[in-house]
Symmetry: C2
Amino acid sequence: MYSSYLLVTIGRGNRMKDEDLFPEPCDANCPVRKTTEIIDGKWTTLIIRDLLSGKKRYSELLKSLEGISPKMLAARLKHLEEKGILSRKLFPTVPPKTEYQLTKLGLELKDVVLAMDKFGRNLP
Amino acid sequence: MYSSYLLVTIGRGNRMKDEDLFPEPCDANCPVRKTTEIIDGKWTTLIIRDLLSGKKRYSELLKSLEGISPKMLAARLKHLEEKGILSRKLFPTVPPKTEYQLTKLGLELKDVVLAMDKFGRNLP
């Protein structure tokens, strides 16, 4: 079944074969590598996921991201701010309030997170 | 320009608004979180990237993944095998040869890696 599908699509010449995917070595110029240097683990990905629905306060992120420590959250937010993925707005209230929002660049990660969401729905 | 586009699409009611994306907290049931527990960082992502074009030997992966240590490569391969993302085949040659291949589940990560590739192409 699968092999006949493959034959048909190769015959039509309109489908990229898997062998054509990423044939080059994964060096510093590799786009996937560049992305992994931004989304460099679980927490950065999950912060981006949370901000895709709109800006959030530090305390809201801390509450949503079950299991993250305040120190880890602060470090990952700083990393994402330095990479231009999110912006931070400080309100001089008492106590001070900080709001985080994805930048235009950060919003472009939507498709990555949506693909991860789709994959995760089939996991046990 | 952007706001009028938004008004039109909301008016039509046929487009998911960003506020509807991931409104729930990111707890243990969150699909994105489950995915990040498999693709848990740079090297796991890049191993999957390399295997999307077909099975590879340990030495080929070590050569392609610029900067990875043999110990790290072995650990990440073990992690991905335990998660059911790749399978390992040992050939009893001298020296022994080991080949790695994505499983059916592992191949389903293709869209995640393609989205990361697309995002990375716009990075400096």
